[in-house]
Amino acid sequence: MSLQYLKDAAASGDTEALIRYVRLHLGDGDEAKGRKEIDKAWIEALKPLLDLPPADREFIHETLTMKDLATLAHLFFDLHFYLVKQSGEWIHDGNL
């Protein structure tokens, strides 16, 4: 979708158009793959937490309180790709 298409969708609340784009972006142009990638990222995020390892919660708290929305949203995308890479099932060409 062109950027204008996405902006119009955001303005009019067309959530289907927006999530469709996210799935395409995460799924290397394939919406069904994109859905699986979203699930995969969450599974990879869950696994390391099962044994309650220590996490740098101060860093997380500081980041969430100090950083702006654009940075945090960008980080969300970065974390998605980081986590799917962790799974070992990399569906994209090229390198991060």
Partner: protein, 166 residues
């Protein structure tokens, strides 16, 4: 052994249509043609630059933004004296296995240096230019990044430019 005519077709047929279907309005169509700038001198007297859309950059610099949903509209300078070992690629949109083994398959920096050393090409600009071709806002790309790179190419004294991938 000669190949059939299908050997000379692009390996991913209908790429424009496919991408435009998935991301309508994202693919560029230009109905008009830009008049050719003429090569003033012979190639052997011409200073050449190289512009890459492959996401090649010097190691240790901030990676190109491959996760951003709308794209990365920045460019990097890559010294034309750089060794492939000092460079890395960041992009997600096409296979880099060949380039990972031999960067010249996508960024022929060593071949260009050889041609300059042999005098086939008059010389190279001090820097080549690199960005990521993937972006969802072609208008922004044209307005900002395309103009920035074009200005830098001209300011650096390039008398001709090779671009790839395109």
């Amino acid at each position: 052994m000669t190949g059939t005519s299908s050997d000379r077709e692009q390996l991913r047929p209908g790429l424009w249509a496919t991408v435009n279907e998935r991301y309508p309005g994202s693919m560029i169509t230009k109905p008009d043609l830009v008049p050719l700038a003429r090569l003033e001198k012979s190639l052997a007297q011409t200073r050449l630059t190289f512009v890459s859309t492959a996401g090649v950059q010097p190691k240790g610099t901030l990676p190109f933004d491959v996760v951003h949903p709308v794209g990365d509209y920045s460019f990097r300078r890559v010294p034309s004296t750089a060794e492939p070992a000092d460079l890395e690629i960041h992009q997600l949109k096409y296979p880099t296995d060949g380039a990972n083994r031999d960067l010249n398959v996508i960024f022929p920096i060593e071949r260009l240096r050889e041609l300059a050393a042999e005098g086939v090409v008059g010389g190279l600009t001090p820097d080549f230019f690199s960005f990521i071709g993937y972006n969802m806002d072609p208008e922004r790309l044209e307005r900002t990044l395309a103009e920035e790179i074009a200005a830098a190419v001209a300011a650096d004294g390039a008398e001709a430019a090779l671009l790839a991938p395109a």
